[in-house]
Symmetry: C2
Subunit: 230 residues, 2 copies
């Protein structure tokens, strides 16, 4: 599968988790820095997320992460009860670093940046297969599904929502738009291609998707001047 | 999960496969009637689709289908190499019977009927879990993914597309709309709720989704008079 990767305007802000989410203690999507425990967690997530880029889903084993991070298997199992959970948290951690909620003043541009950064995260090595397999695990296991919703899914949905809410505050997105449904459609369309049709998630697709979403939820005042330039 | 099931305007046309799809010989999504072989296939698919309504995904075994259909296991294996493939074809067969591309003259109404019929198919017993698990199988296996795309996915996407194309011919859907992307978003949104968020696929959701899609791809001429009545 090919994903959009030829954009100059999408930031890669390693070191920045996106800022719209309030941190909670022991929040698996946002490991806190500071304590010795936290340092181990961060070191492991760093090492595991690099493995996720290089290896297939099945190859990212606890053994492989132990070797790559220099952390013992018993310590890994103390923090992560299964390799599936470790891969989920590592991929969430990595995607949090690489996606960022922009505030350029223009909702279409902010959404575009986010879509490009998000799909770029699917474009490294075998990452797309890892993401698909995490969803398959969530389908097969209720316990894993709960974690999946608390980490990867929540993070990405909140990113989309934050951008749309910014747009609402600027008068660019309709106040009567059901933003949850808009996120279902945007995020759902990307996953539909990723896991069901296998069609390319490329630049033309992201542009069409963004245009469709704008027509579906932007205000006439926002859409009107754009028509003149299109 | 709750799905929309309190509509009076959605037809259940058992006996009708939807009509927009040209039949092909040995097309797993449209078993032909007539020959002795075909009769066995139809009898099995009927029996298996009833089991899919009642049982969980893992319970619909070749043994169970053999008992319910009165067809021997060896014959079943001759037609369907695995129980996963049999369940996939049975669910596709059943959904084909229960969903129908309407032509009321109004694209919003046609889409609404289709969405309601489609989600009603998820609302019987443990069907939602079966559909999710079929997707999980497609993610885990390339061979199964190919069959999944040739049957269930193709059928539903063609249903949505046929309705949108009808709308285009009537001047209700924009000619410059990318209908494939519109289907990604609609179908993707439903699957996103089904397999990822677990949120209800209920009447308010379908109404919001349809409204969003109409704004996203309908013509100004079609949208304008509707505003007066909203």
């Amino acid at each position: 599968m090919r994903t959009a990767d030829n954009y100059a305007d999408s930031p890669r802000r390693a070191g920045h988790a996106h800022t719209s989410v309030r941190r909670r203690a022991a929040d698996p999507a946002h490991p806190a820095a500071g304590s010795r425990e936290s340092e181990i967690r961060l070191r492991v997530l760093e090492a595991a997320s690099k493995l996720v880029d290089r290896l297939s889903y099945d190859e990212v084993t606890i053994d492989a992460v132990a070797r790559a991070s220099g952390v013992s298997k018993s310590t890994l199992y103390r923090h992560w009860p299964s390799r599936q959970i470790l891969v989920l948290e590592a991929f969430t951690y990595k995607t949090n670093l690489l996606t960022h909620v922009e505030d350029t003043g223009d909702v279409r541009r902010d959404l575009h940046s986010y879509l490009v950064a998000l799909t770029r995260c699917l474009d490294e090595g075998q990452t797309a297969s890892t993401v698909s397999n995490l969803l398959a695990e969530a389908i097969r296991s209720t316990g894993f599904s709960r974690l999946y919703r608390q980490t990867l899914l929540r993070e990405r949905r909140q990113g989309f929502l934050a951008i749309l809410q910014q747009g609402q505050r600027r008068g660019q997105i309709r106040n009567d738009a059901d933003l949850e449904v808009v996120v279902d459609a945007m995020y759902g369309a990307i996953y539909h291609r990723l896991v069901a049709t296998g069609e390319d998630i490329d630049a033309p697709f992201l542009r069409q998707l963004n245009g469709f979403v704008m027509l579906g939820c932007a205000t006439p005042a926002y859409l009107e001047p754009q028509k003149k330039f299109s």
